[in-house]
Symmetry: D2
Subunit: 137 residues, 4 copies
Amino acid sequence: MRAVTTELRVRYSETDQMGIVYHAHYLVWFEIGRTEWCRAAGHPYAEMERSGLFIPVTRVDAAFRRRSSYDDPIRIVTRMAALGSRGCTFSYEVRNPADDLLADGTTRHVFTDAAGRPSRGPTPILAALERFRASEA
Amino acid sequence: MRAVTTELRVRYSETDQMGIVYHAHYLVWFEIGRTEWCRAAGHPYAEMERSGLFIPVTRVDAAFRRRSSYDDPIRIVTRMAALGSRGCTFSYEVRNPADDLLADGTTRHVFTDAAGRPSRGPTPILAALERFRASEA
Amino acid sequence: MRAVTTELRVRYSETDQMGIVYHAHYLVWFEIGRTEWCRAAGHPYAEMERSGLFIPVTRVDAAFRRRSSYDDPIRIVTRMAALGSRGCTFSYEVRNPADDLLADGTTRHVFTDAAGRPSRGPTPILAALERFRASEA
Amino acid sequence: MRAVTTELRVRYSETDQMGIVYHAHYLVWFEIGRTEWCRAAGHPYAEMERSGLFIPVTRVDAAFRRRSSYDDPIRIVTRMAALGSRGCTFSYEVRNPADDLLADGTTRHVFTDAAGRPSRGPTPILAALERFRASEA
């Protein structure tokens, strides 16, 4: 499966009083990974929404394995684990520069219209996402 | 000026690695104060948006005077400092149960439609807000 | 299992451009549920941290079943699903006033010291949490 | 005054139901600008905190002039407007790629120790910051 890597630095606002990243922010990083995966696949998510295709999150699971701290450089490695006509699943690894796994997880999504009603993804977009998903880097 | 008081507890997610509330969250608390002021005035902000009146923030200033920490009970005291046909100004005080001032500030707002175009506030709503604004508690 | 219910209103800052609550905020609500469960059990989490017992999140899973919007009143129903000497598991339901299930999930936790090293929870605290956990409302 | 420019893309989590960036996130962007200014000056803020120098925000003001939306590329231009032995002031401009001003503002800071007590900044660090502050790009 094609992996797309995104880099960022931990923001001060993402830390909590334990001195580490507050766990919910990893879900925001997953979203950033998704955004960059879609852009790399040729279908930026902002354009998909403008065309009427919304991809909200319906489930998430995540494991927090090592701590990260303010200003740490981190990498998010994103793959689309599954794709159907009704929705898709992304998987994520968050790693530090030494390639240690900090966290991993998956998000499941359904395709909807702007009002949140389930819909089928448009065939040309699904075909493009599937080609990219299954491609070599 | 009529003051509306809202109570909340500091969330763990609102702390940072200094062990105190991250400053940007005070702006979120100001927003909560505004929400409760509008509700007390008889015009919940959610209803105003549904009727097509949006009140985005155009300026903010805030002073952070004392620290607050996870699970601290705090009070937000909100007043509408000025109201015109084009916009309004709110002022806020954030206090602890001993009534110490933790932070204060103001936000300025314009009235717009859903697309963000400046508009005049509807006369009946402005009249109701003005009556409440100038009323005694 | 003892259920502790916490009420809150959706903040404007918790919405996103889909017009609904951004999914990561449900994890913040879970944390608020945990905080209130611990308080109800007689051991506020802020006190546990001051005594040197930290309870970071190691895993989370959540399902988002119905949308919630700005200013909606919601209830978080929290239970401690499991408790051992090394950690614990909380479960959560997020419901609207009509008792519809908006989201549910679980978080797993380990007990650590302030430096993040795994530790055993103090026996008196564990005993108190276990009594509350298994009690009737 | 030396200006340091940082680039980022608007995160989905930073939008609200108006379809634009929620205003409090600009303060987070200001913080990112500060972080990169300090790094460029040779004194990463994470190191300053590790050495015992904390620089909390005591005042902020900001004006929101144009809207920004999900996935927009933006630039934060940061300057240190003033520096004394007790604290400093940063100024910020947030601009889009067409160089339109989206927002600007300032933050005031005091120097403290880890417990939040006011302190004087260490002379060598102050000297280095002052040299960088007044330098040409």
